[in-house]
């Protein structure tokens, strides 16, 4: 690997690069899907390659290839330089990366049980058992249980002198039951929607998930939802469970704090951000109870790593402090504009993509409430849990979410189950209405393995730590 890296970087410099880096990546993914009582699919996918980023004539170029050889490294570096020279035909300023980042290091995800060493038979047996638990419930039409495991070995090297090796391991699993009735279809999943709960770590995480123990319950809930009353329309008090709040943070905080979005780099695709530079340090994003931070060092969280894909160490950054917006997610290039150093959030989805600013673990600090007390303290409202649908505008203001499950709250007690629950709002109005957050006992980190961004598109593995929270005067029941 070192020889390939050196050849690529040397070739880039010979082509006039003022900066170059290379990532050599080898990825293995194992996926298992059990559906309706039998194994629907098992696959093992492996891919490897390298990508070279260069700055030539003050502009970026990137090229990549699946062929790992020194000859190909030189060809690709030259191609990246050609692309950079073409970029400079339409540049308005030279790229500046700020002060050098030089690190020589190795990082590995702490793992107790290598998931790739666990026999397939054990994994299939667990999924079949969970599947059977769901199918025991009358009225269930479709059951799915799945696991996914990823190992990524990568090398980062740069012309500034960095050489970083990382071995990242992820494990994830989830189950889902769908009931179908007359013009109605309801799905319940566990532990989360989006296919599964996923973490950085080994098979020990899967064994602790309790998939079988929760299988019958979620199937019963899916059937019950078919005949549950529709979520009413109106303005009310809303309590969100930890999983739905994770997606709320993702869409309404995680994305608008990406500094490349703020600068317009994503304008043609996902959009820009309402958190413009003038708001940094002064804008009231949420109520004084709201404290949000980014932290790529949390053990086991899906957005954790050792170094980002620009070779910057993982770190913690405050984002919202007592409701005031105080921080962005940055890269070397964007941080330099603010006179800062990168806070290490650049990641690429594989060897054939450039790194972009991505969320790491973006978390809402826990509060002080016991969940039972929060319900008891709520005169009238709705409790919503587990996401079903999501949508937000291209500056991250107007959002609408739907959840799988909801319960009305009447006089401090959970009441009837409600179906097709939806809520909508405008981001800062919503977060300013937060008047209670549950304590650490209810705080959990949820992995989202499919955050989309960029052209060509990329999926990032990110996470959000949350505890249930209450919001006032929220519009519910949209559809």
């Amino acid at each position: 690997m070192k020889e390939i890296a050196e050849r690529a970087l040397n070739a880039a410099q010979l082509q006039g690069a003022s900066y170059a880096d290379i990532r050599i990546v080898h990825q293995q993914v194992q996926s298992i899907l059990v559906k309706n009582g039998h194994v629907e699919g098992i696959s093992h996918d492996e891919n490897q390659g390298f990508g070279v980023r260069v700055i030539v004539n003050g502009a970026w170029g990137f090229a990549s290839s699946s062929i790992l050889s020194v000859e190909e490294a030189a060809r690709v570096a030259a191609q990246a330089a050609q692309i950079a020279r073409a970029s400079s035909l339409a540049k308005t300023r030279d790229v500046s990366l700020g002060p050098p980042e030089v690190h020589v290091a190795r990082y590995e995800t702490p793992v107790q049980v290598d998931p790739f060493s666990v026999p397939l038979e054990e994994k299939i047996a667990l999924l079949l058992a969970a599947d059977e638990g769901m199918r025991r419930v009358k009225g269930i039409a479709v059951t799915e249980s799945n696991m996914a495991f990823l190992r990524e070995d990568k090398v980062f090297a740069s012309t500034e002198g960095s050489y970083i090796e990382q071995a990242l391991v992820e494990s994830g699993a989830g189950i889902e039951a769908t009931a179908v009735g007359e013009n109605e279809m309801q799905t319940r999943s566990f532990p989360n929607s989006f296919g599964r709960q996923q973490k950085k770590g080994g098979y020990e995480f899967i064994r602790a998930l309790q998939l079988v123990e929760n299988s019958e319950r979620i199937a019963e809930e899916a059937v019950a939802l078919l005949s549950a009353p529709q979520c009413p329309s109106g303005v009310t008090t809303l309590i969100l469970d930890s999983t739905q709040l994770a997606l709320q943070i993702h869409e309404s905080c995680g994305h608008p704090i990406e500094l490349d979005r703020v600068f317009g780099d994503e304008a043609s695709y996902a959009g820009t951000s309402f958190l413009t530079l003038d708001k940094l340090g002064t804008f009231r994003y949420g109520s004084p109870l709201v404290n949000i931070y980014a932290d790529a060092t949390i053990p086991g969280a899906l957005g954790t790593f050792g170094y980002d894909d620009e070779g910057v160490p993982a770190q913690r950054t405050p984002i919202v402090k007592e409701g005031i917006f105080v921080g962005y997610l940055t890269s070397r290039e964007t941080a330099a504009v603010l006179g800062q150093r990168s806070n290490g959030t650049m990641r690429a989805d594989g060897w054939n993509r450039i790194p972009l600013i991505r969320m790491t673990n973006i978390n809402l600090e826990p509060g002080t409430w016991e969940f039972e007390d929060l319900i008891a303290d709520t005169e009238d409202g709705i409790y919503m849990a587990v996401n079903k649908s999501w949508s937000i505008d291209d500056k991250r203001l107007n959002f609408q979410f739907g959840t799988q499950l909801a319960y009305e709250i009447k006089k401090g007690k959970l009441g009837r189950m409600l179906k097709n629950a939806t809520y909508t709002g405008i981001t800062p109005e919503f977060w300013r209405s937060c008047d209670a957050i549950c304590n650490e006992k209810y705080w959990q980190i949820w992995g989202l393995p499919n955050c989309g961004k960029g052209e060509p598109s990329q999926a990032a593995h990110v996470a959000h730590g949350t505890a249930p929270a209450r919001f006032r005067n929220v519009r519910v029941g949209i559809a």
Partner: protein, 445 residues
């Protein structure tokens, strides 16, 4: 490019090495270049060359899949061994029948050398044209220009060998002022048909006309949806309901509706992988030739797409719409068409007493799959219409609307159509004037 002979050689090595009862090899070879721009400068400019070999090994009704992007001989042997090992380790899938047998594959020419030979300099010059147009009008340009060369080959131990090269070019741009934005895009097999100046002018015009957007209340409005918005709506409709798997699982709006009207009689929707006015592909990822499938004909539900797995369940033939295995989503359309009408966007505009002109949608998501209710935002050019004229721009709105209901109230359909890239493949659609469309919220810009 690898070419058909090299791809056949790779596939045949796998087939010869495999000890499975049946073996399938799907090969992809891609070269993709994307020049991306923002703030009127090229800020990301990338190129990629990749191959992938997917091996499906079958013993009776046990199926294993493995893939790799290393096509050296030792790597091919390893990936074959892995697929075999996976298949042997699992219980039988009683629903699995067989890999499909060979059938004649129609010839479709979807490869244009000019697209394959497009250089970084050519893409940069096209982008520079758009950036210059923006600057001349005091605006800022962003967007992406992509050119792709692909080869797909499918080979199996029953005698299937299908090979198809293709090219595609796509240019999109969002042009902005401090309080407005406009969007335009173009897609073609042939990069020479992408006119950067024309795309730029369309977006600049929208950005200029959508300055000073006014507040608007949510509600039900007559709308003119440009082709960009119609394509997005149709893409989701297709994903939700036009797959045989969705019907078999009871989660499609087509269930128990075949032969009945589901939308207005002026609406017909079909999939045709051989139509050169789309992004044609003559076979699916099992090597089965594509058939034209009519989903809705004159408003009446007619059919859905099948792969070999879902077809066997009903005693039918695959329609050639399989995705690469293992596939939990079922067969999906890849070449969608909505029937054009006879009107023009100008005549549509003249016919609207009070309503909205919508350029495109953003972040669309299903809310209720069985009723095909979607939600999303308008974006990049939303205008208020009064007495047949555009009066000015409005702030963007959130819609929450059943697509089936919307397509039941289509007043006018344009004769002109546009090709866009979809979730899988291409979509060609006209613009629509819809009597009633529900907007449930607004945003601040």
């Amino acid at each position: 490019m690898l070419g058909p002979e090299k791809m056949k050689q790779i596939a045949q090595r796998v087939l010869a090495y495999s000890i499975a009862d049946q073996t399938e090899v799907v090969l992809f070879s891609d070269e993709t270049y994307l020049t991306r721009f923002a703030n009127s400068r090229i800020h990301q400019n990338v190129g990629e060359r990749n191959v992938q070999v997917r091996v499906r090994a079958i013993f009776g009704k046990k199926v294993g899949v493995a893939s790799s992007n290393d096509v050296s001989e030792s790597a091919l042997d390893r990936v074959t061994e892995r697929a075999v090992e996976i298949a042997l380790l699992q219980p039988e899938n009683p629903d699995f029948h067989s890999l499909p047998p060979p059938k004649p594959i129609p010839e479709v020419d979807a490869f244009v050398p000019a697209t394959a030979e497009c250089t970084p300099e050519q893409r940069a010059k096209a982008v520079a044209t758009i950036c210059q147009l923006s600057k001349e009008n005091g605006l800022v340009a962003s967007g992406a220009f992509t050119t792709t060369t692909s080869e797909i080959a499918v080979c199996n131990s029953l005698g299937v060998f299908a090979y198809a090269p293709s090219t595609a070019a796509d240019l999109t741009t969002v042009i902005m002022s401090n309080d407005s934005s406009g969007y335009a895009g173009a897609t073609s097999l042939d990069v020479r048909e992408i006119n950067a100046e024309q795309v730029g002018r369309e977006a600049v015009d929208k950005a200029l006309r959508s300055r000073n957007p006014q507040p608007i209340a949510p509600g039900e409005y007559t709308v003119i949806l440009e082709e960009y918005a119609v394509a997005e709506m149709l893409s989701y409709l297709s994903y939700l309901g036009f797959s045989a798997l969705a019907v078999q699982e009871g989660r499609s709006f087509m269930v128990n509706k075949f032969g009945q009207p589901v939308v207005g009689e002026n609406i017909s929707i079909w999939d045709d992988g051989l139509d050169k006015t789309g992004l044609p592909m003559p076979f699916d990822f099992e090597g089965v030739p594509k058939q034209r499938v009519d989903f809705i004909v004159n408003g009446v539900a007619k059919g859905v797409v099948y792969d070999s797995y879902t077809a066997h369940r009903e005693g039918k033939e695959s329609t050639g719409h399989a995705l690469p295995a293992p596939n939990p989503y079922g067969p999906l359309p890849g070449n969608l068409f909505l029937k054009a009408g006879t009107d023009s966007k100008e005549r549509m505009l003249a016919s609207v007493e009070r309503g909205l002109w919508v350029t495109r949608f953003h972040y669309v998501n299903p809310v209720h799959p069985l009723k095909a209710i979607l939600t999303g935002m308008t974006r990049d050019g939303t205008f208020w219409i009064e007495r047949g004229e555009i009066k000015g721009a409005v702030k963007n709105l959130r819609f929450t609307q059943s697509v089936l209901e919307a397509l039941s109230h289509v007043r006018m359909i344009s004769a002109e159509t546009k090709l866009r890239g979809g979730l899988y493949g291409g979509i060609r659609v006209p613009a629509l004037c819809i009597e009633r469309f529900t907007f449930t919220g607004v945003t601040e810009f």
